[in-house]
Symmetry: C2
Amino acid sequence: MGLAINAVHLSYVVHVLGVAGAVMVLFWNIYFRGGLAWSSSTNKNLIFNVHPVLMLIGLVIMGGEALVLGIIGIYMAFKNHNESGIANLYSLHSWIGIGVIVLYGVQWIYGFLVFFYPGGSGELRKESVPWHVLFGMFIYILVVANSALGFLEKLTFLESSGIEKYGSEAFLVNFTAIVAILYGTFVLLTALSRAPTEDNHHYSAI
Amino acid sequence: MGLAINAVHLSYVVHVLGVAGAVMVLFWNIYFRGGLAWSSSTNKNLIFNVHPVLMLIGLVIMGGEALVLGIIGIYMAFKNHNESGIANLYSLHSWIGIGVIVLYGVQWIYGFLVFFYPGGSGELRKESVPWHVLFGMFIYILVVANSALGFLEKLTFLESSGIEKYGSEAFLVNFTAIVAILYGTFVLLTALSRAPTEDNHHYSAI
């Protein structure tokens, strides 16, 4: 993987640009546009202002961060394998991992081009939204499932090399995987839930 | 697992009752109720008749079949382990498998009691439907993901005992897991899609 150092270096650039972008969009909306508000009886524009802030910091920056960290994470497995003489890309975890990072990249780039810059036509955006959401949830489910595959694979290697099957490390790894699955479940539930309304701030249902 | 023989014997009873129930609901709707139809301009009742047939054969019989086959499948792993002196219930695959079969059982029994017999109130059914669907899809995702975990775990054992990492068996197992994931994806997509309408038999979207 000759791209190794490039990916790490690029991630520095991404971080700097990400922090800059987050500061700039916050500054724009707070200083120039009057601030952010969940609800306001006098200035409804404050409600809109939350939109560019969350889309940039959430989907573009944190989503891009996730992509870069994913690429570095994958690289570290290849690096270890190559330096230890271990075979690459034979396991289901590795196959799904490569597939998912490619799908994630396609999804991210598509979202960037159509919804952010340069931006597609209104019709294209409107038609893209449900498929983009569905594809994103599909990729996210694969990401969570593949993390469970990775925990199981690594622990199976360790146990076949002698660590305790019912020991503290084994339990920690299994419970980490279960926490990851529960985390992913609640992320998806949140994505599928309604936002709270003025009248009922605690209401949330499918 | 002292329930072993009981589960296998019970599955015979379930099969007989299942075949009987399927024949009876088909006979009722075809012989007494005039038949089944996707569309009809003269007798709309034929459209309704598809409902009890698919609910009984699909959710109740095939869903129950799936539960029984799942229990027998789990039992066979314990049987092999116990007869070979292999530890039980230490792996993530086994933990999630037990959890999922319990959740599947709860879901199936709840559905049977509320929607089939004795049946809940109209209000309870109405409120239950979206949660029942969501919970069912959640369980199904876990089922598919756990099958991938199982394929990976078994193959990792086999490869650490010497089978080829890039051999035909390894490829068959990995591709079986990928086909299972694609199958599950299209099952969920189908569940989320619209039924075709009179005007547009090929239309299907989220």
